[in-house]
């Protein structure tokens, strides 16, 4: 993975959740973009997130839609709204799908899914 996505996941390997923040107007953004959609500035930094957020919405995948996920079902894909205001699509790994609720506090954790790839995931109400 290269480009901005590569940088985002590079921080995850270091167990840091960072989002872009515009250094002109201060707006946070995710997913990564080349310039600030709020003010048009090309100036930005990778700013550290608090790692805390709440569940915005989710779906529970019961039927695998691709053979790669046959072993994983049922699992929930969750949209988390972060304290910084950005949202991120992820999973909450310590919560059975039936216990998920909109507004539930969650905190980022990191899962090394392969030696090269670390995904940002979430746990209920605490920070790693």
């Amino acid at each position: 993975m290269d480009g901005l996505a590569g940088q985002f996941y590079g921080f995850c390997r270091q167990r840091e959740l960072r989002f872009q923040r515009c250094t002109a107007c201060g707006a946070w953004r995710h997913v990564p973009r080349e310039l600030c959609a709020a003010c048009g500035s090309w100036a930005w930094e990778w700013a550290r997130s608090s790692g805390r957020g709440t569940v915005f919405t989710w779906t529970v995948a019961v039927r695998a839609m691709h053979p790669a996920f046959q072993e994983a079902v049922p699992y929930a894909a969750v949209v988390v709204e972060m304290e910084e205001g950005v949202r991120i699509l992820s999973t909450v790994t310590d919560c059975p799908p039936g216990e998920l609720a909109i507004g539930m506090p969650v905190a980022v954790a990191f899962d090394d899914v392969t030696p090269e790839v670390t995904l940002p995931t979430f746990r209920r109400g605490r920070k790693e």
């Binding site: 993975m1 996505a5 995710h30 997913v31 959609a37 915005f56 919405t57 989710w58 779906t59 529970v60 995948a61 019961v62 039927r63 839609m65 691709h66 790669a68 996920f69 994983a72 699992y75 894909a77 949209v79 950005v86 949202r87 991120i88 699509l89 992820s90 999973t91 799908p97 909109i102 899914v113 790839v117 995904l119 995931t121």
Partner: protein, 386 residues
């Protein structure tokens, strides 16, 4: 552009599942196309514009196969299931501005016997405009296919507005009832009750099996020309009274969208109604792109048939069934007729406005609406009148 372009020809193949169409994807496109051209009273060589559905055909091979020798206008709009209605808008603009005279809108695919739609994103993320974001930020977390993307919106709608599974079920039941009156509907002869719906297996919560559209083989096509030329052709013309198409913001990402209920239709619908000079209350029937039940409810809201959050109550009590205040998907839709990429929704609207819809005819239908929904919420809408 009000009433300056017309749909003058419609064509469909047989719609089916097992054992499959027995035809190639190109063959389905061509069979639907030749039927639409014949229905219009034209010859293939009269066609000089072609707008193929994204990823399902090229204007070059279609023109070569049909014998279209003077292809002046060829374009594909990358809006997924919103493409047919959005293409109708561009075709209307093309014929009224003189870029082309007779524009063909074909589609066709083996969605059952060929590669399944639900696997296409993972197989090739470039299939849709938001594919790069899905590849990098969705698929690693197991969000791989359209029902999963849209279920995120449905869940949030249930939270904010109290929308209930029974209300999504009312949509599935209505589409299935209508399919019983359609000889080409795959689900004809297979009635569905609300109990059947609620008892069907969960696919991606809150979507059950019967919230999800069919995967079928088939093709459908239209021919568009100016209203002046339409008067000289054999069929009763159907006028493109108002038409709009737009993208949600951002169009390449659902999860981070500031207003998760807004779609391209939110922008396009007021423009289409204003162009036509009518309001949703004037509409006799609506063919709403029904990839999943909730998307019908959401589009009824965003198109202005009811307010945001009121869709659940709107679809109850038979209001969207034939005989109700606003019959929706009189052919059975993607849920119970077949998945023909939204093109069959336009074909059905033309049949209704010609008075050719047989047992499922909406009495005295004068104004019909057709919508399209594609990718991460691209939207399109046409207000058609006889």
């Amino acid at each position: 552009m009000r009433d300056r372009a017309c749909i003058v020809g419609i064509g469909e193949t047989r719609y089916c599942r097992a054992p499959g169409s027995g035809m190639s994807q190109l063959g389905l496109n061509l069979q639907a196309a030749t039927r639409a051209i014949e229905d219009a009273g034209l010859r293939p060589r009269d066609i000089d514009g072609i707008m193929p559905f994204p990823n399902l055909g090229s204007a070059e091979e279609l023109a070569a196969s049909l014998g279209v020798q003077e292809l002046r206008f060829a374009a594909t709009l990358n809006m997924g299931g919103a493409a047919p209605v959005a293409s109708l808008r561009v075709a209307a603009a093309a014929v009224t501005s003189g870029l082309a005279t007779h524009v063909l809108l074909p589609t066709g695919w083996n969605g059952y016997s060929g590669r399944r739609a639900r696997e296409t994103l993972v197989t090739d993320p470039t299939n849709i405009p938001g594919g790069a974001i899905a590849r990098d930020y969705y698929i690693p977390h197991g969000l791989v296919a359209p029902p999963q993307w849209y279920a995120l919106i449905a869940r949030r709608h249930m939270h904010e507005f109290g929308t209930k599974p029974e209300q999504l079920g009312a949509i599935a039941v209505a589409m299935r009832k209508h399919a019983q009156l359609n000889p080409n509907a795959v689900m004809r002869g297979k009635p569905l009750t609300l109990e059947d719906y609620l008892g069907s297996p969960m696919i991606t919560a809150p979507y059950r099996l019967f919230d999800c559209c069919l995967e079928t083989d088939g093709g459908a096509a239209l021919v568009v020309t100016t209203s002046e030329r339409a008067r000289d052709l054999g069929r009763r013309p159907v006028f493109v009274s108002g038409v709009g198409a737009a993208q949600p913001y951002p169009a390449d990402d659902i999860a981070t969208r500031p207003d998760i209920f807004a779609t391209g239709l939110t922008i396009a619908a007021p423009e289409a109604f204003a162009m036509a000079g009518v309001t949703p209350a004037d509409v006799d029937f609506a063919e709403i792109y029904d990839c999943f039940t909730f998307e019908v409810l959401q589009q009824l809201e965003e198109a202005g048939f009811c307010g945001r959050g009121e869709g659940g109550a709107f679809v109850e009590g038979g209001r969207i069934e034939l005989g109700g205040a606003l019959p929706v998907n009189t052919h059975g839709g993607l849920l119970s007729e077949a998945h023909v990429c939204g093109m069959s929704h336009i074909v059905e609207a033309v049949k209704q406005l010609r008075g050719d819809a047989g047992e499922r005819q909406v009495a005295d239908a004068e104004i019909g609406v057709v919508t399209g929904w594609g990718d991460f919420g691209d939207g399109s809408i046409a207000v058609l009148r006889r």
